[in-house]
C-alpha cells in the first residue's frame, strides 16, 4: 500500500483511505486512460470490478468511478474522474478489460455518455427509447409516467389530512365560540326572564 502511495505521488496524485478496505484516487480526464493502464500493467490491479457513473446536475458534470482490485481481492481502489455533462465522452477501455464493454454499453444508454471506438453501443435494457437517457437527473420519471400511463382513477375521494385538521380545528373553535355565545345569550335571557319569573312566583 505504501508502495502504491509513493508511486502515485510521482504522478502528483493522492490516495485517500475512505474505509477499512476502500481507497480513492481522483484524476483529471486527460490522465485517466494512462493511469488505468499503469494500474493494470504496473501496480498489479488487474481486475476491473465495476464502472459507476453519477450525475452531478448542479455542477454540470458526470462523476465516473472505476473500481479496481488486485488478484488478492483484499481491498478496492476507486479511480474517480469527472467529465462535463454536455457532449460527455470517455475513452473506451474494452480492449484492456473485456467486461468493460457491457458496463460502457449500459452507461451509454442510461446517461448518454459516448465511447468513441466502442464496437457495440446498442440497446442494453431499454427498447425503442426516444426520450433523454433515463438516469440523467433532469429526466422526470413521474412526469413521463403521467403522460404515458393513466393510474386507476378511483381514489379521488381522498382528503388532505392537513386541510381536514384545520377544518376540524376551526369547526371546534367555532363550536366553542358558538357555545360561549349561546351560553352568554342564555344567561342574558335568564337575567331578562328572571324578574318576570319572580313576579310570576310572587303571584
Amino acid at each position: 500500500m505504501i508502495e502504491l502511495i509513493s508511486k502515485l505521488e510521482k504522478l502528483s496524485l493522492e490516495l485517500v483511505q475512505k474505509q477499512d478496505y476502500l481507497y480513492k484516487v481522483e484524476v483529471k480526464k486527460e490522465q485517466l486512460e494512462s493511469l488505468l493502464l499503469s494500474f493494470l500493467n504496473e501496480f498489479g490491479y488487474i481486475t476491473l470490478d465495476s464502472i459507476n457513473c453519477r450525475d452531478d446536475l448542479e455542477e454540470g458534470n458526470f462523476v465516473i468511478t472505476y473500481c479496481l482490485l488486485t488478484p488478492k481481492r483484499d481491498h478496492v481502489v476507486m479511480v474517480q474522474t469527472s467529465i462535463e455533462r454536455e457532449n460527455a465522452s470517455l475513452p473506451s477501455i474494452h480492449t484492456f478489460w473485456p467486461q468493460a464493454e457491457i458496463m460502457e454499453r449500459e452507461m451509454h444508454e442510461m446517461f448518454g455518455v459516448d465511447f468513441p471506438g466502442h464496437p457495440t453501443l446498442i440497446d442494453f435494457a431499454l427498447e425503442y427509447w426516444d426520450n433523454i437517457p433515463p438516469l440523467r437527473r433532469d429526466f422526470d420519471t413521474l412526469q413521463y409516467v403521467n403522460d404515458m400511463n393513466p393510474f386507476r382513477g378511483q381514489r379521488d375521494d381522498a382528503l388532505d389530512a392537513k386541510v381536514e385538521m384545520k377544518k376540524k380545528r376551526e369547526a371546534k373553535k367555532a363550536a366553542k365560540l358558538k357555545a360561549e355565545q349561546e351560553a352568554a345569550a342564555k344567561a342574558e335571557l335568564e337575567t331578562q326572564n328572571n324578574p318576570s319569573q319572580e313576579v310570576q312566583n310572587e303571584e
Partner: protein
C-alpha cells in the same frame, strides 16, 4: 470405460422415501399456521387512531388515502380521517405501522385475497384492537 456402479445404484436410494409421510400442505382443506408477526393485511384500531396522516406521509408508494369513516369512533381524532390503503400499490413493508404514533395501525396475519375485478382493491382496514382477533 468402467461403469460407475455407485453412480448407477445410489440414486435408487430415493425409493426409500416411498414410505415417508407426505409433506404436502393440502391448502384449502388444511391451512398452515401463519405466525402472528407476519406482514399481512392491515388492521386499524379506530378508537385510538388520531388521523395524523403519518402513515400517508411515510408511504413511498403513495398507497394511503385519508378518508372519513362512517361514524366518528375517536373524539380526539385531529382530522376526523382514517387511512384507507390501495392494495394496487401497497408492498407490505410495514413502514406505516412503524411510524404510527398511537400504534393503532397494525398488520394482521391474514394475507390471501383474489378477485376477478381489478377495480376492487381499495382496502379499508378492519377495526380490530389487536392482531389475530377472531372475526365474528
Amino acid at each position: 470405460m468402467a461403469i460407475d456402479v455407485k453412480g448407477v445404484l445410489s440414486p435408487l436410494s430415493a425409493i426409500g422415501t416411498l414410505f415417508e409421510h407426505p409433506k404436502t400442505i393440502t391448502y384449502p382443506a388444511v391451512k398452515k399456521d401463519i405466525p402472528l408477526g407476519y406482514r399481512g393485511f392491515h388492521i386499524n384500531n379506530l378508537e385510538t387512531c388520531i388521523g395524523c396522516a403519518s402513515c400517508e406521509e411515510v408511504c413511498m408508494n403513495d398507497a394511503i388515502d385519508m378518508v372519513h369513516p362512517d361514524i366518528e369512533y375517536n373524539i380526539k381524532n385531529t382530522s376526523g380521517c382514517v387511512p384507507r390503503i390501495d392494495y394496487g400499490r401497497c408492498c407490505w413493508c410495514s413502514l406505516c405501522t412503524d411510524v404510527c404514533p398511537p400504534d393503532s395501525l397494525k398488520l394482521d396475519n391474514i394475507c390471501t385475497h383474489a378477485d376477478s375485478n381489478p377495480d376492487n382493491f381499495l382496502y379499508m382496514p378492519k377495526n380490530h384492537k389487536s392482531i389475530g382477533e377472531e372475526v365474528s
